[in-house]
Subunit: 435 residues, 2 copies
């Protein structure tokens, strides 16, 4: 029998918790026997002292097994997923999952909702009329078996310890801890029953991790958790100093992702999707070389097989499959307004987080988890870093249904985009890949 | 309006909380609007990052004003108190308060109960038949006005924020924080409405602070809180590498304190009491020099005036005043058993905390706050550091009512006392005085 305050003291003093003690703590979170004040003090001590690789592995495993896991044992395909730390305009999952499924891997993807300046895959998908992201786990397994992918949210049964701890972290100033972020991500991803995972760690002024060091530390931490759990993990550190693609919102982002699968869409979105798909295929063994992976991915797109997989998935999850052929069926805001350049010059800097906040103000995002989303609202970026612009040229177009939200967002977007005289090199799309 | 998680983040990141924010936090503790999990995370962040002198001053003031304070405005005498960080055999308050009162200062002393290896003044006083330590504040004021001293416990009205935070600290591994210890002590002491305070910071293997550095840091912290609150504070760092006096328990400690006022009692107890009394008298202005203070103190003892003050206090607080003349009226355990020296030699080391634990096991102390005390139980030390002993000579005598407790305590005391061949210098009674 442990005295919980002694376990808190152990971590407070920078010592390691035993495997057994970690089990007791996580069990206590789930069954409610650990008072929230003791959990809160422990979280702050972990924020301060961190968790050793062994502790972190045990902590993640205990959270993972606090609930149910996807049972994909009957599926002989390699199972692989991608997780992004979140950015602005990041709709990659919607085109990536069907691409990888079309190449012969299974993608049981459990995604999140948008909060603050970042959007969430579930919100974007729910812009498709009828699309249900709240499948029970057995139904989610059926969908993967039928079409090679599923796009759902975290149910109550999945890693309940993580849900409780996350809510507590949010209220106690202990969100920004690398071991706690890493274990939260991995407890959910490992519950998918995957063989391999590619992390897309966003880096730049629109990411949660503003520094390259912190982003690399998170990537290494997740790779190490994967290693100890027997899941191959690699991490792509991709740029988030400007929105990914042109669209920021929900329905408009889904449309852009569909366009990528139609062989269209902006180049940066396609290039990152392609690179991540290739990484997933080599990591899970579907492709033995990057070249082979790249060929598979290009073929899956060009042949329309990837689009077909998404159509199957949308259908199986109750959505209207006609949006795949006619994206005009996606909701669209009633009004739009341009933000124009105030001077001639070159796009030198984009405050990406501020662009995300502007989209949120227009109705595309939520400040608190309980806020509602306006799926048709958002904005379209017309410029990228390093691009030449002339005074009066549109920088972005705002889409909205409630006019009183536009003025505020307009000012935010205007201020977020810096036009300078001299040209500077735009950042690379991908900074590093860690394996 | 503050978001509490942002205030926690501020402290977590090592930044300062505003006066206003500290007020909101402490108010929230008292009225229950601050969830305990947020208070717990904040306490751990404070444990980690500390509090600046300004924050600490505000934090203490907010706790102090979370409840009522003693209203001694009608009393023209200087008001002074002493607080000890706790040790083994520390019955100083019982002889010190009446001595200082007899010299012309008022001593409104609010004391605590014993916990773990240390005793508490309230428990020792309650060994006097009928003695009531739970006076309401207005009655406590009357007693000080009548006899110059009162010896009571913390009521529910006094610094309720401290009581709530202390209970939370106990359960969240955040007890051992110097700013939190200092503010807890000072919020209660300042609520006494005193002009001056002498801290007796115990130092050694029977003290909470095992290192001289930590003890000095606590002393300096408390002096600084006092300075900002306009209360003169000095700190005596006294030795706790052996029990103070000979008696460890409750009734036996009260008897020993009475003996000091009768002109008797062990020398170390008298010398420390005298030094603390002298410090209190000079600090509050009753004496202008240490010599004058010392003369006053010696006279108060020799004349019997100090004993008379204690008699008045005991009477006013409902106790049987006959114990002052006949200490045999104090409860006494039915059985006793000696612990004898196993070898010839010199007393080289006494594990003082272990002596305290032995007394607790005999029934003199409590492991948890809700445990009951056996006032007659305890032990008498017959040896001090540096003393020569012969094999078979008694080192200590155990006093107990339940025989099954004696064996365990006997072993603890035996192991706690080290007899060596060579003599080493015993520690000084007082290590330093900080003003």
């Amino acid at each position: 029998v442990y005295r919980i305050q002694d376990l808190i003291r152990t971590k407070r003093d920078g010592l390691e918790l035993s495997d057994d003690a970690i089990g007791v703590l996580i069990d206590g979170v789930v069954d409610g026997s650990l008072p929230e004040y003791q959990a809160a003090a422990l979280l702050m001590a972990i924020y301060w002292r961190g968790l050793s690789p062994r502790e972190l592995s045990r902590w993640t495993d205990a959270m993972l097994h606090s609930g149910q896991v996807l049972d994909l044992a009957r599926l002989s395909l390699p199972k692989v997923d991608k997780h992004s730390t979140g950015g602005v305009g990041d709709k990659v999952s919607i085109c990536l999952a069907p691409l990888v499924a079309a190449c012969g891997a299974a993608v049981p993807m459990i995604s999140g909702r948008g909060l603050g300046h970042t959007g969430g895959t579930l919100d974007k998908l729910e812009a498709i009329p009828g699309f249900d992201t709240r499948l029970a786990l057995p139904r989610a397994v059926e969908v993967v078996q039928a079409c090679g992918l599923v796009l759902v949210g975290q149910t109550g049964d999945l890693a309940p310890a993580d849900r409780k701890l996350y809510a507590l972290r949010d209220l106690t100033g202990t969100i920004e801890s690398i071991p706690l972020i890493a274990s939260s991500i991995m407890s959910k991803k490992l519950a998918e029953g995957i063989d391999a995972l590619v992390m897309d760690v966003k880096l730049g002024n629109g990411a949660f991790m503003k520094s390259a060091e912190r982003a690399a530390e998170l990537a290494q931490t997740i790779i190490e958790i994967g290693r100890r759990a027997g899941v191959a993990v690699s991490a792509v550190l991709s740029d988030m100093n400007q929105p990914l693609g042109r669209e920021v919102g929900n329905a408009n982002e889904t449309r852009e992702a569909i366009e990528v699968l139609q062989g269209d869409g902006p180049d940066d979105l396609w290039q990152l999707t392609r690179l991540l798909a290739c990484e997933m295929l080599t990591l899970c063994g579907v492709a033995s070389t990057a070249e082979e992976g790249d060929d598979l991915v290009s073929h899956a797109r060009a042949s329309g097989q990837a689009l077909e997989r998404l159509r199957q998935c949308v259908t199986l999850q109750g959505g209207d499959p006609r949006v795949l052929d006619d994206t005009a069926r996606l909701p669209r805001a009633r009004e739009e307004r341009p933000v124009v350049a105030q001077a001639d010059g070159v796009i030198a800097r984009i405050e990406t987080e501020q662009i995300g906040v502007a989209a949120m103000r227009l109705g595309a995002g939520r400040q608190r988890l309980e806020d509602a989303i306006d799926h048709g609202a958002g904005l379209t970026m017309h410029v990228r870093l390093g691009q030449q612009v002339s005074r009066g040229e549109p920088l972005a177009t705002l889409h909205f249904n409630t006019a009183d939200r536009a003025a505020d967002a307009m000012k935010l977007v205007q201020q977020a985009i810096t036009i300078a005289d001299a040209s500077t090199d735009p950042p690379p799309l991908v900074h590093r890949v860690l394996r």
